[in-house]
């Protein structure tokens, strides 16, 4: 028996030795040990990126966040897109043959000239898409030999054994047609989808509001029939959206709405094939996550092959992609930056993209430095490692980053973070001269240059108004400054001295922070969310800024839900808010100050509840105009009104910093486009070389650790032997 056990142990030891040997041999192939990706991917044309939170929605009717657009932007193709290189941002066709130009009609249905001054009743957009575009491979299109769909009539039992889309053995495709775009616009009104833009689109697209009601009733009727709730939208016509022929569809909007073309570049207006809707609507599919939210179906350059939002998302090149070429022209400097080297070459360049879930910034940053991510942002934890700021405030990469061949690109985001005053508040709100001067004084006192330097590592620029750079209406230089807060001195904007703020405060009746009418100190309330240790320094900074004017600032910290309640009910006095552009048009920022968009009265996005009749009138005039000198003149007039009224302390436009490895090409920040992946190119050979160079295992500390253990064990062993040889009586127990 003992012999058997010994033999068995010896055999086990041999196996263990063999396994260890194999591991060591494997380790000797020069491949880094810390490579998180499979060995066979080393030479492949794969891009590695990350995501920090699981996407909530991948359905183009619902998805409305950047973290979701990074996926569906590459899969779905709306009719239009933004030119990748040109600035200012320009729309170009994607699946459409041309950017549609509207035809205008009066109330009697007579066509009107483009430049007519008459009241436009309807605008009609005819969008013609290119023939020959095909969908990605998908089981919804799979047919048998007789042309019947293979997977449109599955039983629950058949679905039970299926877990991912790859479990469907057959796939198919079909040509994109205009009806698919119509179908998707109809889906915006689907009662189960809760599309975030249904409300705003109902204001413009003819008949959409009534259509939503029709669908709701139809869905209720369907609901009573029990299972298999496929609401066939083809049975219900939408007045304002129709397919004219196989490749043309028409959208009719009320009045003029030039911003519609921007919406046509967003995933909301992508095509959705009815076959996929029928496929996903089968009973039992949703329970297995077979939905548009989990598996998008598009015509874009990529399609989703793995959706495991707890770990990774993988997109592969769409074999049916219609083909597109890299742009041949850009803006000045693009050629010198190498951004036109691939001009005219077919897109996309990358075969596969792997997005790994990285919730924490430190592992993400370290893996980027090791070459396991091709690009990275810069978190505040790693800012000092990546960026050096010169004495003149000039920003550059650190020597260590440059030595690795890492490149930096910065861009001012088309967004704004501002501090708002509730204009319904009796102290900080209102439109009297006293209230206006109080807000102007505070606007001067809050030193956003300092804020950006301390809390944003210089990643931002102070805002002079609501419109960020890159949007029509933004002015550089002296013409663009806010004259109520800044002076133009020596060729740059300089914040007015604090004495000016104190003077304004005194004129407002609050000299030295005391209300001259009541004799009481002026106490203002700042409503914020959060309140962790990270926020304390920021709140202290705000208090100090108000103290410059002897105003006491009370920070009212609350959770996000209560904060939103306060904002909805108008109970907040001063607050922080932000907005990210949907599209590059000043209307998308000024509507945040448009009276009929007030949060308290109308549940709109005007969080400050600002309501200036003259501003409202100009907004209504400006929003439907085409860009030009006349529109610019109105925008400047609007800017002057809101700068004087100061419903917001304009805050800052954040600046994004992105780092790219030397093997990553064609990187240019485009803050409007969602589909930029197809332009990117990588050099996998260089990447493999660099990874191997940067990640060779360092083994000597392991040897040192082993020696240390031996050094600890040996005296213990001697002590043990000594004690074992002593008589029990001598061992003396405690």
């Amino acid at each position: 028996m003992l012999k058997n056990i010994t033999a068995c142990l010896r055999a086990s030891n041999d196996k263990i030795c063999l396994l260890l040997l194999l591991i060591l041999l494997g380790a000797c192939d020069g491949r880094p040990w810390n490579n998180p990706y499979p060995h066979e991917e080393d030479d492949q044309n794969i891009m590695y990126s990350s995501f920090s939170e699981r996407p909530k929605h991948l359905d183009p009717a619902r998805s409305y966040s950047a973290s979701e657009y990074q996926f569906i932007g590459q899969i779905y193709e709306p009719p239009l897109q933004y030119h990748y290189l040109k600035r200012p941002y320009a729309l170009i066709p994607l699946t459409a043959e041309a950017v549609p130009h509207p035809r205008y009609y009066d109330a009697d249905g007579n066509e009107m000239p483009d430049d007519g001054d008459m009241e436009v009743a309807y605008s009609v957009y005819d969008i013609r898409i290119r023939p020959g575009i095909r969908y990605q491979p998908h089981p919804a299109f799979a047919k048998d030999g007789e042309g019947r769909f293979l997977y449109h009539d599955l039983t629950r039992g058949e679905i039970e054994s299926l877990y991912t889309l790859a479990d469907f053995t057959r796939t198919g495709t079909r040509e994109l047609v205009a009806e698919d775009y119509v179908y998707q616009i109809k889906r915006l009104a689907h009662p189960r989808l809760f599309s975030p833009i249904l409300g705003i689109m109902s204001e413009y697209i003819v008949g959409l509001s009534a259509y939503a009601k029709t669908l709701e009733n139809a869905y209720k009727a369907l609901d009573s029939e029990g299972e298999g709730k496929f609401l066939d939208l083809r049975r219900y016509a939408l007045e304002g959206v129709q397919a004219v022929d196989r490749y043309t569809y028409r959208i009719t909007v009320k009045g003029k709405y030039p911003q519609l073309v921007y919406w046509l570049a967003m995933p909301f207006f992508s095509p959705v094939p009815v076959e996929a809707d029928i496929f996903y609507s089968q009973p039992g599919m949703a329970e297995k996550n077979f939905t548009f939210d989990w598996y998008p179906v598009g015509t874009g350059p990529y399609y989703l092959t793995v959706n495991d939002p707890n770990r990774k998302m993988v997109m592969a090149r769409n074999p049916h992609f219609h083909g597109e070429t890299y742009p041949r022209e850009g803006e000045a400097g693009d050629a010198a930056a190498g951004l036109l080297s691939d001009a005219g070459r077919p897109l996309p360049f990358i075969d596969k993209v792997v997005y790994s879930l990285e919730k924490e910034s430190i592992p993400l940053w370290n893996k980027f430095l090791q070459g396991y991510y091709d690009t990275s942002g810069i978190s505040s934890d790693s800012f000092d490692q990546a960026i050096s700021i010169g004495s003149q405030g000039d920003i550059a990469l650190t020597e260590r980053m440059r030595a690795k061949g890492i490149r930096l690109q910065t861009a001012v985001n088309t967004s704004i973070f501002y501090m708002g005053f509730n204009m319904m508040d009796p102290v900080t709100g209102g439109y009297s001269e006293r209230q206006r001067k109080l807000r102007q004084a505070i606007s001067i006192a809050l030193d956003y240059e300092e804020f950006i330097s301390i809390f944003a590592n210089g990643r931002g620029i102070p805002a002079q108004g609501a419109i960020p750079p890159g949007i029509f209406g933004y002015r550089e230089g002296q013409d663009g400054i806010n004259p109520y807060v800044y002076d133009w001195i020596d060729g740059r904007a300089v914040r007015k001295p604090i004495e000016e703020a104190r003077r304004l405060l005194a004129e407002a009746g609050y000299e030295k922070g005391v209300d001259q009418e009541t004799g009481k100190p002026l106490v203002l309330y700042f409503d914020v969310t959060g309140g962790g240790p990270d926020d304390k320094a920021r709140m202290d900074w705000y208090r100090k800024q108000f103290q410059k004017l002897d105003i006491q600032l009370v920070v009212r910290n609350t959770d996000y839900n209560r904060f939103r309640d306060k904002m909805r009910n108008g109970n907040a006095q001063i607050f922080m808010w932000g907005w990210n552009a949907d599209y590059p048009d000043p209307e998308n920022f000024f509507f945040l100050l448009y009276g009929p968009n007030g949060k308290v009265k109308y549940h709109g996005e005007n969080a400050a509840n600002y309501d200036n009749p003259e501003f409202n009138r100009l907004f209504e005039q400006m929003k439907n105009m085409d860009n030009g000198p006349e529109r610019l003149r109105i925008i400047e007039a609007m800017n002057d009104i809101v700068r004087r009224d100061a419903p917001w302390i304009w805050g800052l436009h954040p600046k994004s910093f992105a780092l790219y490895h030397s093997w990553y090409h064609n990187a240019k920040p485009n803050l409007m486009a969602n589909n930029t992946l197809k332009y990117k190119r990588i050099d996998p050979v260089l990447r493999k070389e660099k990874r191997a160079q940067w990640n060779q295992p360092v083994l000597w500390p392991l040897g040192l650790l082993g020696l240390l253990l031996v050094a600890l064990i040996v005296p213990a062993v001697f002590t043990y032997i000594r004690r074992e040889h002593r008589a029990p009586a001598i061992r003396g127990e405690s």
């Binding site: 090791q370 996005e605 083994l699």
Partner: protein
């Protein structure tokens, strides 16, 4: 014993109802159905009509606990609490508030959690017992004193330090294993090494000290003195007698943990990118997804009750004096 187990399982029903009620109340004190709707519908362009439709669609348009407008039993059954809770007892978790299958999510995330929790438990137990036995063996010597100081130092340092330090030294400086990530099957091994090592190092401080205390307590008992008096070597005394008797408190601590291994570790999983259950609840709380929160609390409670029953059963196995009745 069967009667005992059956009785304990019956006791579990009111406990689970109570836990469910407390979870429900705590959740809805902080979040209203309107807040949940807003969170799920997004930040931009959310209309009051969309909020009402979202609530109606998911059954959050009913009263929370008591329906004044209903008649008879419906006053209690036609409420959010009843409608959302009753299916849990059939282990039907349904869909999350954003439409995903919770049962499928739990099943998917359970394995990665187990993949790191099981080795941490097994190796942690072995390491802690070994260290504690060594210190007990060398009690009152410089080895014991140094060891205890080191254990106190180890347990005094935040777990975050071990995680970030481990990633920095082993992953970043020595390039021995990936810093974070996960893969399925055998490929998961290289991702598991670092979190397991970090957890072992972090756990050894408290575990080693606790087990040392247990061993020292046993060593001071009469039967140990008798064993020594009979001339047994210290090694035999420790391994044959002390270890066996010290297993009762160790089992109390370990067996109750076994079912909870499924629940994963929040910080470890988050930092090492392990797609387990640890971060599932926190993500759900942040997303105000009550469906997931209630399901996970329910699962956690069930597992804890199972753990306690298993502990009781394990007592009878290691200590013949104990009988369950």
């Amino acid at each position: 014993m069967l009667a005992y187990i059956a009785r304990r399982l019956l006791y579990a029903v009111p406990i689970l109802i109570g836990v469910n009620l407390i979870t429900f109340m705590l959740f809805f004190i902080v979040n209203t159905p309107d807040d949940m709707a807003r969170m799920h519908l997004g930040m931009k362009h959310v209309t009051p009509q969309a909020i009402e439709k979202w609530k109606a669609e998911r059954g959050y348009d009913k009263p929370l606990l008591y329906n004044e407008e209903a008649q008879g039993l419906s006053t209690f059954t036609d409420t959010i609490f009843f409608q959302k809770s009753v299916r849990l007892f059939a282990f039907d978790f349904g869909l999350s508030d954003d439409g995903r299958d919770i049962g499928h999510d739990i099943y998917q995330r359970m394995w990665p959690s187990l993949a790191i929790a099981v080795p941490i438990l097994v190796f942690g137990l072995l390491t802690n017992i070994t260290v504690a036995m060594l210190l007990a063996f060398f009690r009152a010597t410089y080895i014991d004193v140094t060891g205890v100081i080191m254990l106190v130092a180890l347990m005094s340092i935040s777990s975050l330090f071990y995680i970030i330090g481990g990633q920095y030294v082993i992953g970043k400086l020595l390039h021995l294993v990936p810093i974070s990530g996960y893969d399925s099957g055998m490929n998961a091994l290289k991702f598991i090494v670092l979190p397991v090592l970090v957890a072992l190092l972090y756990g050894i401080g408290s575990g080693g000290r606790w087990y040392r205390t247990i061993f020292l307590e046993e060593i001071g008992k009469d039967y140990v003195r008798t064993a020594r008096a009979k001339g047994l070597s210290e090694r035999l005394v420790l391994f044959r007698h002390v270890l066996k008797n010290a297993m009762i408190p160790i089992l109390t601590g370990v067996v109750v943990l076994l079912p909870l291994l499924f629940m994963g570790s929040l910080i470890l999983e988050s930092f090492f990118g392990i797609p387990g259950l640890g971060s599932y609840v926190i993500d759900a709380i942040q997303a105000q997804d009550f469906a997931i929160v209630r399901s996970m609390v329910f699962v956690g409670s069930v597992l804890y009750i199972i753990g306690l029953i298993l502990t009781d059963i394990s007592y009878t196995l290691v200590d013949p004096r104990i009988r369950l009745s």
